[in-house]
Symmetry: C2
Subunit: 203 residues, 2 copies
Amino acid sequence: MEHRAKLTAKGRATRERIVRAAAQLMAEHGVAHTTIKDVQAAAGVSASQMYHYFSEKSELVSAVVEGQSDQILGSQELALAQVHSIAELSRWRHLMVEAMRDKGCTGGCPIGSLANELAETDPPARARLEGAFARWQALITDCLTAAMARGELPPGTDVDRIALSLLAGIQGGLLLSQVHRDTKPLEAAIDTMIDYLRRLAPG
Amino acid sequence: MEHRAKLTAKGRATRERIVRAAAQLMAEHGVAHTTIKDVQAAAGVSASQMYHYFSEKSELVSAVVEGQSDQILGSQELALAQVHSIAELSRWRHLMVEAMRDKGCTGGCPIGSLANELAETDPPARARLEGAFARWQALITDCLTAAMARGELPPGTDVDRIALSLLAGIQGGLLLSQVHRDTKPLEAAIDTMIDYLRRLAPG
């Protein structure tokens, strides 16, 4: 953070270009298969520039985990800010399915993939990703709390646990959609949870 | 297959020892971080023995994907053969949660992890893992079909789609449990689906 505060605007732009290039390469080929040299070439920077910003691969991995978490959480925050009812959850589901379809069902969730690759080998990355998933769960909990306040769910529903279950369905749905090259698993996972919420409705 | 048929019993045992060592290293450190040399050392075989069975890493990866798929599907087949009702699904859920707890929530699903690492870089592995997930889904579908036959689910319930959704919950639940080092996400994912099935019950 301190390091970044000292960068000029141009320096920040270069650093961001490097992190974006690294994020893309790591999403395509995995963290292990991405070298500092690959990133340097993809970002179009010199070896000395690269070294100025990231002297070790671990620093680059950490910046990618932070960048991908912020990006996914940022877009989820925007989308979920529009959701105050179960019907609105269906619109959010539609956005995620379309995004997966647009990618031809290649690649899973960027932070899910990083979690899978780094959970056992990079403790700081695991801790950061744990925080990102907790924030994501909290965003879903807020939507379910709003739906409960509207009377769509019985008072006292354990919305935090249902949010965790919905997030698990999204992560597993994205992985299975990636493996099957088909959006069906993602659709089934979220639709089943939405149907569950409808069946909880009082009366 | 043809190659394997020609092996002696001793040769088969050596080959299996190599595949088991490779599977363990790949589960711990990822496929990319596991070299032929690491596997050779872990299996305690000579370089020429190693080369006799696996001349390229891709052959070893393929054998690990096949071995892990067979092992997971074999144990799921045994466990799910006991499940003919929604109540019996809870016992199966208990087994999976206990298995994750026994590992201290380290490592996710072996085939989910392989899928995440290989889906974009190894098309034959992706195809084989797709088959493994389809078989797993079919095993769950059989259980739900049995529950429907007992009258626990309304006739005509789309049990295949619910099975897919349950499998997504398991995969995402295992990943989140690994990241959080806590069985709660896996428990929430499966319990919510079991509660959903109970709420579908006629009458």
